[in-house]
């Protein structure tokens, strides 16, 4: 009896309005969401007013939850992002690009004039700005890291939101190693493979080490990540310093010193709210 009553109440309650928005990136996180088994059932529990990938009519309503993917690379994107923030009760960043710039932010560290000449043979888009995560421009209520995001993490957050109308608390911090089944004798580091698991936020279930691929920091460094120690360790594996630095830069907006005169004693600072990495410019 009680259950029936609950069902009735649930059906009376208005479905939360959700929008999935995409800025500069590969849209792989949107696809990851679409590839969740039972996605249509999940989607039925909310009112998706904006999901340009599969919907033709995109009414720009007010949103209970805005899910934002992609990095911000132009003034136009900043304006659109701010508009979305104003209309949304909660806003979450999904994927490395939205969290801290991801792969698109790698362009920040290139000699701009050289790559433009090389790739486009002409001037830059006028309103182009430094590529960053969305948190540089607006308040973000939850960061879902990873490239791409984990299906389980998304489904858990989604279900929590549908049930409570609120976002879950931020996950506990810890290195990928905490979840890695190779931990111990089978550890990739013991095989002299440059695995970044020890300094990367957990939450993915360590899929890469399980496929014999060293972790590549796609979920962002932990706030206390000891980069110098990691660089020293990889150097002892025979890697060149420049290659290690390139590796560290792939998924985040962190600039490492470029010269080989780099002294490991200098600690690289990662500041910012929500433990989010920010670009460090010389």
């Amino acid at each position: 009896m009680a259950r029936k009553k609950g069902v009735k109440r649930a059906s009376v309650r208005k479905k939360p309005v959700i929008g999935i928005f995409s800025f500069t990136g590969c849209e792989g996180c949107q696809f990851t969401i679409l590839f969740i088994n039972g996605i249509l059932d999940l989607m039925e529990q909310a009112d998706f007013q904006y999901f340009h990938l599969i919907k033709e009519k995109n009414r720009k309503a007010k949103f209970d939850l805005a899910i934002v993917e992609g990095a911000i690379t132009s003034e136009r994107e900043v304006r659109k992002l701010k508009e979305i923030r104003k209309k949304s009760k909660y806003l979450i960043a999904i994927g490395a690009c939205a969290c801290n710039g991801g792969i698109p932010s790698m362009q920040n560290f290139l000699e701009r004039e050289r790559i433009e000449k090389y790739v486009y043979n002409q001037k830059m888009l006028k309103d182009s700005i430094e590529a960053t995560g969305i948190g540089e421009h607006i308040k973000v209520d939850y960061y879902m890291y990873g490239c791409p995001i984990s299906k389980i993490e998304f489904t858990n957050l989604y279900n929590y939101f549908i049930k409570t109308g609120r976002l879950p608390p931020e996950p506990k911090l810890g290195p990928v190693c905490d979840e890695c089944p190779r931990r111990g004798e089978d550890c990739l580091l013991l095989k002299k493979q440059p695995c970044l698991g020890p300094i990367t936020r957990k939450g993915c279930g360590a899929p890469c080490p399980q496929e014999n691929i060293p972790c590549y920091l796609c979920r962002s460094p932990l706030p206390k990540a000891d980069f110098p120690a990691e660089i020293e360790l990889f150097k002892s594996f025979g890697l060149k310093e420049q290659d290690i630095i390139n590796k560290l830069e792939h998924f985040q907006n962190i600039e490492m010193p470029k010269t080989c005169e780099y002294k490991p004693k200098v600690k690289i600072k990662i500041k910012g709210k929500n433990n989010k990495s920010k670009p460090i410019k010389k």
Binding site: G28, Y118, Y120, Q210
Partner: protein, 427 residues
């Protein structure tokens, strides 16, 4: 008085695009695609990266074609260092590639294209009336994901493809169960062909050059690049494909265009079948109400449906015969030089070219995606198609033009060069 129609934010297509059409006195003066996507400079950021870091970065060009970017980048690296991968690696890569094609085709067919033809704004609203079809699509999607998962370890941005081989070999038992699942799902693939063969597509013909891979069997991973140029077959040598292909920017437009041998051309499922239909089981081809070669761009949609069935059969064939033997990726001897990789992405030919220094650090990268190759063709097609439908109400024109664009299955986010610019062409 001129009439300007602007389709803002064309939806149900990966990436973000805008189209400007200008009609003057019943004549189409302008049909121009504008892209919303921010710039990512992939070719720039791939420079200075070590050879083994290229594929994971290149994979991030596109979330839905991540498998093919991964494979093609790896192929280019292997070509540069003259590494020949084992037969087993080739087969496993072909399998994961087939999985990627299925993922992409099923999404395009059922979620992006089908709603247009059955009169629904989107797949979610279509779901109640077309329950069986959507269920069938979801089963195929799950299977595509499963193949990519079993071989690559993840649905999007797979992990196991490394220069020289595979970082992890799949379990024989898992391959066996995959084979059984595929056989069970064969009916779904057949139903898909039947469904898309039944649809009445707009009658629009556009004679154009086609380019695709060809090989001894219907192969989307390896082969030589051939073109059909005025019914004349030509081969593009891979070592210097850049000499045959020209990338350029059009006046007042924002996107990159490509011509092959100075001519507009099309890549994708239709060109693949136009060139390779003789390699396909006749029973499959008979399911369609038309024959290949076809010059109708809308036939790209049923061509994708047929291709899914062909590829599913190929996957079953591989899975039934493969016996996984333990092997490690071939060792890489780094040397200075260039390498080219070419594959058939779901949307057509994909080229990756890299040049390395003696330490294996990338000095030059050139990526040519299928969408940028098709873009000129799409624009020309819109211009030719519009006069047929100009009398229709504006809403209908919008829908039909969108349908035409979507028939080419463009993926805007993967076009590495897209950029809005004010550029005056001096020529």
């Amino acid at each position: 008085m001129g009439k300007t129609i602007t389709l803002n934010h064309i939806t149900k297509m990966e990436g973000h695009a805008k189209l400007n059409i200008r009609v003057e006195k019943g004549k189409v003066k302008k049909a121009e695609l504008t892209i919303f996507e921010g710039s990512r400079y992939f070719e720039g950021i791939l420079q200075c990266q070590k050879y083994n870091e290229l594929a994971p970065i290149a994979s991030r060009i596109c979330g839905v074609c991540s498998v093919v970017h991964f494979l093609t980048a790896t192929k280019a690296v292997e070509d540069a260092f003259n590494v020949k991968v084992s037969e087993q690696t080739q087969l496993l890569r072909e399998l994961i590639h087939i999985g990627g094609h299925i993922q992409s085709h099923v999404l395009h067919l059922y979620f992006l294209a089908l709603p247009d033809y059955v009169g629904y704004p989107n797949a979610i609203q279509m779901a109640s009336k077309y329950k069986n079809e959507i269920q069938c699509a979801l089963r195929i999607k799950r299977l595509g994901n499963r193949i990519v998962n079993v071989i690559g370890g993840r649905d999007v941005h797979p992990l196991t493809i490394v220069p020289g081989g595979m970082s992890r070999l799949p379990d024989q038992a898992e391959l066996k169960s995959l084979s059984a699942e595929l056989k069970k799902a064969r009916k779904d693939f057949i139903d898909t062909v039947t469904l898309f063969a039944k649809i009445k597509y707009p009658r629009f013909e556009k004679c154009i050059d086609y380019y695709s891979l060809t090989n001894k069997h219907y192969n989307i991973l390896n082969g030589k690049v051939i073109g059909m140029k005025c019914n004349e077959i030509c081969t593009i040598p891979l070592e210097d494909y850049e000499k045959h292909m020209k990338e350029y920017f059009q006046e007042h437009s924002t996107a990159e265009f490509v011509v092959m041998e100075g001519r507009t051309y099309m890549v994708g499922a239709l060109p693949r079948l136009n060139h390779n239909y003789k390699l396909v089981d006749k029973k499959i081809l008979k399911m369609l109400p038309f024959t290949f070669p076809s010059d109708k761009p809308f036939h790209n949609i049923p061509a994708q449906a047929v291709e899914m069935l062909i590829l599913a059969d190929r996957a079953i064939n591989i899975l039934e015969n493969i016996k996984i033997k333990k092997e490690k990726p071939k060792p890489i001897k780094v040397r200075a030089g260039s390498g080219v990789g070419v594959s058939e992405a779901p949307r057509g030919l994909l080229f990756h070219k890299y040049t390395f220094d003696k330490d294996g650090v990338c000095q030059y990268a050139n990526i040519t995606t299928p969408t940028s190759q098709n873009l000129r063709c799409i624009q020309e097609a819109i211009k030719e198609f519009l006069p047929n439908i100009l009398d229709l109400p504006k809403e209908k024109i919008k829908l039909e033009v969108e349908q035409l664009i979507r028939a080419y299955d463009p993926c805007i986010s993967c076009s590495t060069h897209f950029l809005e610019l004010n550029w005056e062409e001096i020529k």
